[in-house]
């Protein structure tokens, strides 16, 4: 009998005024009972509209019916057929605009909590099943994967399953890309990322950290000198933008990338780690995406009294996930919508004293389809902050494109690929994720990594 409750089985989470003082995970995940209850809401539709919304095409109704039967191990195996990082995607995917958007139950009431169930299954498997991973027989061909973010990990995993000898090259000292330096611990525990990477290593994938490709080795050297038969470039879009306003050079002004890297990768919030971070009194985060929410929520956890999100459009246009905005509000983040910074003021010692903003109103829709913000003359005011974090978006790092002759890029510096095969303008060199699309989502990057793995397999057969 299907569970016809209109709303999703609620997921327990830490109370807002408790969690905004720690870095532990906010949402606590389903218990077995909750998972069984939620799985029973799935109608097991024949045409499976949910699957069409999933960039990695998880067999959703099939895995959910296994959950409903209480066979969590079988559920995991079904997910793992197409998705190698379910503990991650179950947590950070914007399901409301992917699988859950197409769920029939969402027409009247809330869709099935597909993401929550995926996460439950992955966590249950990690905690309960200890099996030796099968190492597939090697087919004698070598593939280099540059970068170790979600697109690369997915590509590496799919290729390893097919018997390729895969080496992942990561510039940082830890693999995971944005999953380790960008997304905070309270949304995605780093232990989970490490577990996924360890799983890859157990399947025979080599992970080489501290390797900045483009400097220590070029893509061409990987092919010509190191004998790789194909290369996948999943180097992401890590180059931060600044506004170019006065005072951006003051101490206390961070890019969100720097702020989050210090906190997440270098663990600057923990006393025993050596990397410093400013413990601010009052913080302005400029921008309205998920990165802005992450930075704001981190600042709050570091003890700031006031954390403002300053965004030039209205809440409706904010690119951040609704859930993140909701969590941020609950934790006491203050939203200054329809506001834009014009200048950052110096306290006389070279640090931030305050930020001058101007109020905005929305005009006609622009090329992106969103209503264009226009300054309201004479509405300038001073915001009392000692720290400013710029979360304005990122673009691809120029290192690969400037050291790989013949590789085509567009005017945004993104690698140009054939959308069916993910092949770049160079034979045997493939790319995917943010390096191709510019800053997008984890799951789209995973989808691209998957597609590229299939194409590389086709190319090397």
């Amino acid at each position: 009998m299907a569970n016809m409750t209109m709303t999703k089985t609620p997921m327990p989470e830490q109370a807002p005024d408790v969690r905004n003082k720690n870095f532990e995970e906010v949402t606590l995940g389903y218990t077995e009972e909750m998972a069984l209850n939620e799985a029973a809401r799935c109608l097991n539709c024949k045409n499976m509209p949910c699957v069409s919304g999933c960039p990695v095409n998880i067999h959703i109704p099939q895995f959910i019916s296994k959950v409903a039967e209480g066979d969590f191990k079988a559920a995991y195996k079904i997910i793992a057929e197409t998705n190698s990082l379910p503990a991650i995607s179950g947590r950070v995917c914007p399901q409301e605009s992917q699988c859950e958007m197409h769920c029939v139950r969402g027409i009247k009431g809330e869709p099935v909590g597909i993401g929550r169930l995926e996460r439950f299954v992955a966590d249950w498997y990690r905690n309960n099943v200890k099996e030796e991973v099968e190492k597939p027989e090697l087919n004698g061909k070598k593939v280099a994967v540059v970068g170790s973010g979600p697109s690369s990990l997915t590509c590496a995993s799919d290729l390893a399953k097919k018997g390729y000898e895969v080496t992942v090259f990561e510039a940082f000292h830890v693999a995971g890309g944005v999953l380790v330096y960008g997304i905070p611990e309270f949304r995605l525990p780093k232990e989970i990322v490490q577990n996924e990477v360890n799983g890859l290593i157990a399947r025979g994938v080599k992970v080489e950290t501290d390797m900045v490709i483009g400097r220590v080795l070029t893509i061409d050297e990987l092919i010509n000198d190191m004998g790789f038969n194909a290369v996948f470039i999943g180097t992401g879009a890590g180059l931060p933008s600044f506004m170019g306003i006065e005072g951006e050079d003051l101490s206390g002004v961070y890019s969100a990338n720097e702020y989050l890297t210090r906190i997440n990768l270098m663990k600057a919030y923990r006393k025993e780690y050596d990397t410093p971070i400013k413990h601010s009194r009052s913080v302005a985060v400029v921008g309205g995406g998920n990165v802005a929410m992450d930075a704001a929520r981190c600042a709050k956890r570091l003890g700031a009294e006031h954390v403002y999100v300053v965004y030039r459009r209205s809440e409706e246009e904010m690119p951040a996930r609704n859930e993140e905005i909701h969590h941020a509000k609950e934790e006491g983040i203050e939203f200054l919508l329809l506001n834009n910074p014009v200048k950052i003021n110096n306290d006389g010692t070279g640090a931030v004293k305050s930020m001058e903003c101007i109020k905005m109103e929305l005009g006609e829709p622009d090329a992106s389809g969103r209503r264009r913000p226009i300054e309201i003359k004479g509405s300038e005011f001073e915001l009392d902050v000692d720290t400013v974090i710029m979360a304005l978006g990122t673009s691809p790092n120029p290192l690969i494109r400037t050291t790989t002759p013949g590789i085509e890029v567009n005017r945004h510096g993104c690698l140009v690929v054939n959308e069916d095969t993910m092949q770049t303008s160079r034979d045997g060199i493939y790319a995917g994720g943010d390096a191709v699309t510019g800053a997008a989502t984890v799951i789209l990057a995973m989808g691209a990594g998957k597609k590229a793995a299939a194409a590389i397999d086709e190319y090397l057969k």
Binding site: F172, H173, V212, N257, P276
Partner: protein
């Protein structure tokens, strides 16, 4: 893990280490740098490559113990390992087309100026080196610089060795004596680079400086190292570390470099306390 194959104290606060890192050794060029991390709790700190030997597969770094991480690195001995050693990073120094160059090193900056002098000298360029130190005890790399320069001038602030005065005094006298330099390369403390740039500006001599801003990743993904050059934002780790000395906003750089001073002091104190405590417990 990266092994320390040689360690030598150059003076009481400056240490030389040769690190086994064959891939970096094969690629490193003058002006490039590495990022190191001593241990799991460690921070990522940039250091310019002082020398490299592609046959031995080693990279030489020379550093001054100025804070927690350089202190911890300095405590490591030959045969021990550090956790991370990444590079070569940054753009190599432009050395082509120069026939006569003045290379200026200030203090431990001489370690960074050395590979530049060496590579220019090897390329057949006339290289006049001006090495400046506060006092006699701090002198480093004198023999190495002499061996890789056409003329070597040693100056100390207090006159305890070589000529008395600042590097800028010596530079000005050399220019005024009719030396036509194609370029001046200046590496040392930020105020020194600022004043060398001010010295050369009226003569219109191209001046290259190597900036030492605060870095985290060193690959262009955070902008912590950003500097204003000719009014534009540049990232020292990927656009530099070398820049046109006449266009750099030095005051801004000094300000940004001081951002964590208080925390660094505190960190150093508590960390060293923790080490002492640990040592005491071990003795017990």
């Amino acid at each position: 893990m990266f092994k320390i194959v040689r360690k030598k104290e150059l003076n009481p606060s400056v240490t030389l280490m040769e690190i086994e890192a064959p891939l970096i050794a094969k690629k490193a060029k003058a002006g490039q740098f590495i990022i190191f991390r001593v241990d799991e709790e460690g921070e990522r700190i940039p250091l310019t490559i002082a020398d490299s030997d592609s046959k031995k597969g080693t990279v030489t770094i020379i550093f001054q113990k100025v804070g927690l991480s350089t202190e911890l690195l300095g405590q490591k001995n030959e045969g021990e390992c550090i956790l991370d050693f990444v590079g070569p990073l940054g753009v190599p120094t432009e050395t082509e087309g120069f026939k006569k160059v003045a290379v200026i090193g200030g203090g431990v900056g001489n370690a960074i100026a050395f590979p530049q002098a060496k590579s220019l000298f090897k390329a057949g360029c006339q290289v006049d080196v001006i090495s400046g130190f506060r006092t006699k005890d701090l002198i480093i790399l004198e023999d190495e610089m002499r061996a890789n320069s056409t003329n070597y001038y040693l100056v100390t602030d207090d006159g305890s060795c070589g000529e008395k005065g600042f590097v800028t005094d010596k530079l000005k006298s050399l220019i005024d004596a009719g030396n036509n330099y194609d370029a001046v390369i200046a590496i040392g403390p930020v105020p020194m680079m600022k004043f060398v740039s001010l010295t050369t500006k009226p003569y219109g001599i191209k001046t290259i400086v190597s900036l030492n801003s605060i870095m985290v990743d060193g690959t262009g993904m955070c902008g912590g190292c950003r500097v204003s050059v000719g009014g534009e934002i540049k990232f020292a780790c990927v656009d530099g570390p070398d820049f046109d000395g006449h266009l750099v906003n030095y005051d801004e750089l000094m300000n940004r470099n001081a951002a964590y001073k208080a925390q660094e002091e505190e960190n150093k104190k508590t960390h060293i306390c923790r080490m002492t405590q640990l040592a005491n417990e071990l003795i017990k």
